[in-house]
């Protein structure tokens, strides 16, 4: 009988019910879209931020020992110990391999130009990742240097190079000129394509493709460091505790630390995977990323929360008027012997059904809107989340059910006699 009452009630008096479903649908669509967006925001922002440089640097272990003089960290001595390009394949075996956005190989050597010692940097991507094999500058190999400011053009060919802004001043080089390098009796000419400002060590160097530098220096397959761009979680208290004193972590804390992609734990895993290497976190990059991410996520959480609240309020509004409209029906049910819980059950089921329907519709439209938002803000695909297909109807059901509790309890407190016999 209850089912029959429900079916009849839902089938007749459609406009009120449609309004309720519509409200839940729109509200839940927004909530689901924001959930989709916020789940994606970390990944997408992280990718955007990777243009500001890699957050982990891998070096030969001896090279990583910082040499500090009066507070300045001196560059490790160039050209002594190297890693092998091939060792980078180990990154593919890493537990965090899916968090790795890019690997940028670098080889530093010292050359002579016009009788002066000038550092020469070769940059490139691992062979495996460049579709075109070991050709000079691939888009892959430059991706990690989005934060470099180049006057002129990026090099395209193996005989072209960039010149750091300080080196260009010292050597009097401008784009289009040729520069002659000497190393151990060999010479080679490169054409300057652009002047680069990096704000770092590269400002005093010449920059060419990795294969060019390896050839010229007679160091095939060798690199002096690799920058690894990774998707990481902003550091929290636990990560900080590890950073200050790794031995202070309890075994449980250590377990949690190593299973979370903090910059520190990913670096530790990389160092372990690549023999003879030392991986360290580039704090300048990782801390900026962390700060931006935390703010973005905070913003998304606030937006999502507000949307959910507004959705609940409007559902309460619609259901309240729908329930109050039926005061005399409730009074009648009580007069013919319905208990308060019978009335509550009837209205709960009805609202739940409406909420379920609205939520189910939102499970379809929410991800579409979420995809649209992700596309508009970041471009590209949003990760689809299967759970939302269940979560959204469930959430709609709960919202609608909670929203009907208040008006129903109000109506149950009414004077039945007065409503029925009121004249």
């Amino acid at each position: 009988m209850l089912l029959r009452i429900l079916a009849r009630s839902l089938a007749r008096r459609r406009s009120r019910k449609l309004l309720a479903v519509l409200t839940i649908w729109v509200g839940m669509t927004l909530v689901v879209a924001l959930i989709t967006l916020s789940l994606d925001v970390r990944d997408k922002i992280n990718r955007e931020l990777s243009a500001f440089g890699a957050n982990i640097r891998v070096e030969p272990s001896a090279g990583a020992v910082p040499v500090r003089v009066g507070g300045y960290e001196l560059a490790p001595r160039i050209g002594q110990i190297y890693l092998n390009e091939g060792q980078m394949e180990k990154l593919e075996t890493l537990f965090w391999r899916n968090n790795i956005l890019g690997v940028f190989l670098r080889l530093w050597v010292q050359v002579r130009v016009d009788g002066r010692d000038v550092p020469l940097l070769g940059i490139g991507a691992p062979h495996g990742s460049a579709a075109a094999g070991s050709v000079s500058f691939t888009p892959d190999s430059l991706k990690g240097y989005g934060h470099w400011h180049v006057k002129g053009a990026w090099p395209q060919a193996d005989d072209e190079c960039l010149v750091g802004v300080d080196a260009a001043r010292e050597l009097g080089l401008t784009p289009g000129e040729w520069v002659r390098l000497t190393l151990a009796g060999r010479t080679r000419s490169l054409r300057v394509r652009g002047i680069v400002v990096t704000g770092e060590r590269e400002d005093g160097a010449l920059i060419a493709s990795l294969s060019t530098v390896q050839d010229f220096a007679g160091l095939p397959q060798k690199i002096s460091e690799a920058d690894v761009s990774t998707l990481t979680t902003p550091e929290n208290k636990l990560a900080e505790k590890y950073r200050l004193d790794p031995t202070s972590l309890t075994p449980a804390e250590y377990e949690r630390w190593s299973c979370t992609p903090y910059p520190g734990s990913v670096a530790a895993a990389i160092q372990e995977a690549i023999g003879g290497s030392a991986a360290r976190v580039v704090r300048r990059v990782s801390e900026t990323q962390g700060a931006v991410l935390i703010r973005m996520e905070g913003l998304m959480t606030i937006l999502g929360g507000l949307t959910a609240v507004v959705c609940c309020l409007s559902v309460i509004g619609v259901l309240t008027s729908a329930v109050l409209e039926r005061r005399s029906e409730v009074a009648l049910l009580q007069a013919i012997g319905a208990h308060r819980r019978d009335v509550l059950l009837l209205f709960s089921c009805e609202s739940a059904a409406l909420g379920l329907l609205g939520g189910a519709l939102a499970a379809v439209s929410g991800p579409v809107l979420g995809q649209g938002l992700v596309n508009a803000v970041f471009g590209g695909e949003a990760g689809s989340l299967g759970v939302l297909a269940i979560l959204s109807p469930l959430l709609g059901l709960i919202v609608a059910w909670v929203a009907c509790l208040w008006p129903v309890s109000q109506v149950l407190h009414q004077s039945t006699a007065q409503v029925l016999h009121g004249n």
């Binding site: 009452i5 008096r13 049910l333 007069a335 012997g337 308060r340 016999h421």
Partner: protein, 223 residues
């Protein structure tokens, strides 16, 4: 002498605002009696009925129906009492608008015990509504609605039937038919309390109670 069907002991009902709708009313109705409650508008007839069906509570005095003190029941206990013992016929009918005539009758069965469609159909048939069972209340005439309302009140075989102006909205032909139904119920031995301000109707009952300003001014036996 059996247990009284209805007993009011010095009952008063004062509404907020100080209106004394009932003022020290005492009344004794035996089982199987058919009583008409009469009186001018505003004399407290509906208030009296609401006290007897447990939808309202007295401010003073005791209301006993079939031995149960209704003033002591909470809303759910009162609902249980109503569905077990009382058939209610409303002045304004009152139906669940989206249920058919038959479903409205079955609803009373549902809250009483179990739904028995055959029995629900039978009672509608007895009241001459066999061909209207699948109509919505809004599709029925006043007389037809009143009969569905009576069918709903009777479907659970109540011992006491309370009716508020059951013929108030009906034309003469329907009025006569409804009165015949009440006569049959009386012959079946049900206790009936019927509010009316039509003296002709009142005279057909076994006894009459006359209310004025919340007090019983006269009690008269017809037969």
């Amino acid at each position: 002498m059996g247990q009284a069907a209805i007993r009011l002991e010095n009952v008063s009902r004062v509404y907020p605002g100080g209106i004394r709708a009932l003022d020290g009313v005492s009344l004794h109705i035996e089982q199987g009696e058919w009583v008409a409650v009469m009186g001018p508008s505003g004399s407290g007839k509906t208030t009296l009925l609401n006290l007897l069906d447990g939808l309202d509570k007295p401010t003073a005095g005791r209301v006993l129906v079939l031995g149960t003190d209704l003033g002591r029941l909470d809303p759910d206990e009162a609902a249980t009492f109503r569905r077990e013992k009382i058939g209610l016929i409303f002045q304004g009918f009152h139906f669940v608008p989206y249920l058919t005539a038959l479903e409205n009758v079955m609803l009373a069965q549902y809250y009483h015990s179990i739904v028995d469609k055959k029995q629900a159909c039978a009672i509608l048939e007895r009241l001459g509504m066999a061909d209207r069972t699948h109509h919505l209340p809004s599709q029925l005439s006043g007389g037809e609605q009143q009969r569905v309302c009576i069918a709903r009140a009777l479907v659970n075989e109540p011992q006491v039937v309370l009716a508020d102006e059951p013929t108030g909205n009906l034309d003469e032909r329907n009025e006569a038919e409804v009165m015949n139904i009440f006569r049959d119920l009386h012959l079946e031995g049900k206790t009936i309390l019927m509010v009316t301000h039509n003296h002709d109707i009142g005279r057909r009952s076994g006894s009459q109670v006359l209310l004025n300003h919340g007090r019983i001014v006269r009690q008269r036996f017809t037969a």
